[in-house]
Amino acid sequence: MSNDVTRRPTPNQEAADAWAPLRRLTAARIGLARAGASLATSALLDFRLAHARARDAVHTALDEAALRAQLEALGLPVLTAASAAADRSQYLLRPDLGRSLASSAISTLDLHAGRYDVALVVTEGLSAGAVQTHACPVLTTLVPTLAREGWCIAPIMLVRLGRVAIGDRVARALGADSVVILIGERPGLTAPDSMGAYLTWNPGPQTTDAERNCISNIRPDGTGYADAASRIAHLLREMRARRLSGVALKDSSDTTQSITSDLSGPSS
């Protein structure tokens, strides 16, 4: 865990050493040093740093040019577009705008409309750092795998300030039977750069979240790149074979369920 590096030793805490073996069992903040009933200064500042990093992850802008250059190395055309959200603060308050394409995006997509098996969409969601770092490594494995199996892949679409459902609009406009959207997840304190992949068969305006499959926590310390790419490919094959996605596919891989889907999807 990266923030363990900053966790300082806890002086004058006789129980501190006793917690060392227990801390190996979980990344949870257990056995923290106390001052009275309250947190000791070191634990207080560790937490504040982790929160600061998570906040920075939410508010850091995507370096679109850099990511585009990386993605172009995959050999597919890369298009860029924006959602209807004007800026990050509007994006956070208006999920509906993040699900819609800016009007300027429509003409870009129309130029490339055709018949595709799958559309690949990348958007920063709630963590630009997540897709900046993890999107290209996952696609570097996924794209050749799909190409070998004869999938007709649409141009890669890099969308600024999108939510999960914007993938439906992109796929519909391009004429794709399915969509994979890679999106930065809600940053947690221990993982500010987690990426999610949402997959949908026959995406369109009628699509609900129950019709999506999700692979979450994609990062080297969570779901690794190769694992994520192979699970995405597996789900795409299943979706195409059974002509559906979402809850009905859940049984084939119980680890694909989003862990934060209870009250509201992290970035849906």
């Binding site: 006793a18 069992l25 009933a37 309250s38 937490f47 308050l93 999920p95 509906d96 009250l263």
Partner: protein
């Protein structure tokens, strides 16, 4: 049609739904739904009109039609006219004044519970200041029991929340150990499982039951799986103490959660049949949160605070042990910042307590909301002043599974010391027996007792 003239300007509100929505203090979810007041003046005008509204109108004009929604039917069909009689002549503003008055004792407020509807308490909340929400709630007494007694005067209980991203039993046990040593867990030891797999939930239930029995802890456990999962596990003989479910204030939102009232009754009956409670049989555990109906597109144009109160109307039909508003989890598109989260937390606790519920609050926020630990300290302290039944205890306030920040074991202990609150009496006796209290009755663990450490060897 409702109207109010303020500063020479006449404002009109076409129906009760619009009046309630426009009178609600500003929050992003109502703006997102397009139902919030257009200006601050319009909001106050709506509050003026709402204050003059006779309470009885809220029994006649339903925010969601009776025919279309089983939550409305539950609220109307179970309303107790006799209990309502003493306030039947009052307006919403008049009810606020009465609740603040010396006549509104704990006993009088308790007698009123079956006569109040969610819409009435939601309406009063909208015209209350924060201090009113605190003062009135602090007069309410709600006591519930399963293996211990929750909600007694001067008590503050804690749910121990030992979540782990892969449900690793040893990782969970380590967090439980940490929480118990810091005096947490009297409300419940409750795990949010990382998946909804029944096998996984069964394993976790067995783990919790084993720890509880080996340490002889006077508390209850819960795996917060979907109610259908829990029902299936009861039938398989799993050790189920409490039945958990997320609930909302409309039939359509509940359907999006995969539940209805009949299913909740079925699950409660099944768990009652296990007879696992020792001092009482309150065994339902509900979680709610403003914005959940809107996020399911099941809000019928009704504001999120009114719908939240209606979720409590659902909860009280099932005599729960615990109800918890997970106030800041849903995100900034519903509650934008610390100010909105604080206000919502106080409103939810107030409405729940007036409706006779054992209200706890997950004082929490996500990293994309404009909030931080200072905001949470403020809400936590205000809720403890308001007599909140219980709060969450998460190791270091960082839930590594759900990816949000709640309150820590330390936060809860600090509040117990600051406000002279104690754990549930049975649990406090247990803490004493484990040698975890100092001479001044404060939780001050010296080391990890070997009996506790042995839990990790299994």
């Amino acid at each position: 049609m409702y109207n109010a003239t303020v500063a020479g300007n006449r404002h009109t509100f076409p129906d009760i739904v619009a009046l309630l929505a426009k009178a609600s203090p500003l929050r992003s979810g109502d703006v997102l739904a397009g139902i919030a007041a257009e200006s601050d003046e319009e909001r106050v005008a709506a509050q003026c009109a709402l204050a003059d509204l006779p309470l009885s109108r809220l029994l006649d004009e339903h925010v969601i039609p009776y025919e279309a929604d089983e939550v409305t039917r539950l609220i109307i069909d179970t309303h107790d006219r006799a209990a309502f009689a003493p306030i039947a002549h009052l307006t919403v503003g008049g009810l606020r004044d009465w609740m603040l008055s010396d006549a509104a004792t704990s006993v009088a407020l308790a007698a009123l519970v079956p006569g109040l509807t969610p819409e009435m308490v939601a309406a009063v909340a909208k015209i209350c200041r924060a201090q009113d929400l605190i003062l009135i709630a602090a007069k309410c007494r709600v006591v519930t029991r399963f293996r211990n007694t929750l909600g007694l005067p001067e008590c503050l209980s804690v749910r121990l929340q030992p979540n782990h991203p892969t449900d690793d039993p040893k990782g969970i046990a380590a967090s439980i150990l940490d929480g118990l040593l810091l005096g947490a867990g009297d409300a419940v030891i409750g795990i949010n499982p990382a998946t909804d797999s029944p096998e996984r939930a069964h394993t976790l239930l067995a783990l919790l039951d084993d720890i509880r029995c080996r340490l002889d802890i006077p508390t209850q456990s819960c795996v917060l799986a979907h109610v259908t999962t829990t029902l299936g596990l009861i039938q398989k003989g799993a050790p189920v103490d409490l039945v958990f479910q997320s609930i909302a204030g409309t039939q359509a939102a509940n359907r999006s959660f995969g539940i209805d009232l009949a299913l909740l009754h079925e699950a409660r009956d099944a768990a009652l049949g296990l007879r696992r409670g020792t001092v009482g049989d309150n065994l339902m555990y509900f979680e709610t949160g403003q914005g959940s109906a809107l996020s399911a597109n099941a809000h019928h144009g009704v504001d999120q605070q009114t719908l939240e109160a209606r979720a409590y109307g659902v909860a009280r039909a099932f005599k729960p042990l615990l109800v918890n508003t997970v106030v800041g989890f849903i995100g900034p598109e519903y509650l934008h910042d610390g100010k909105q989260i604080i206000r919502a937390g106080l409103e939810d606790h107030f409405c729940g307590k007036l409706l006779g519920l054992p209200m706890g609050c997950d004082v929490c926020y996500t990293n994309h909301a404009e909030a931080d630990q200072d905001d949470m300290d403020a809400l936590l302290a205000l809720l403890v002043a308001a007599g909140v039944t219980y709060v969450m205890g998460v190791p270091g306030a960082d839930d590594i599974m759900l990816g949000y920040q709640s309150t820590s074991f330390h936060d809860a202990l600090t509040m117990r010391e600051l406000f002279r609150r104690r754990a549930a009496p049975e649990f406090e006796t247990w803490l004493q027996r484990q040698g975890l209290l100092d001479a001044a009755n404060r939780v001050r663990p010296r080391a990890v007792p070997s009996r506790f450490r042995a839990l990790l060897d299994a």
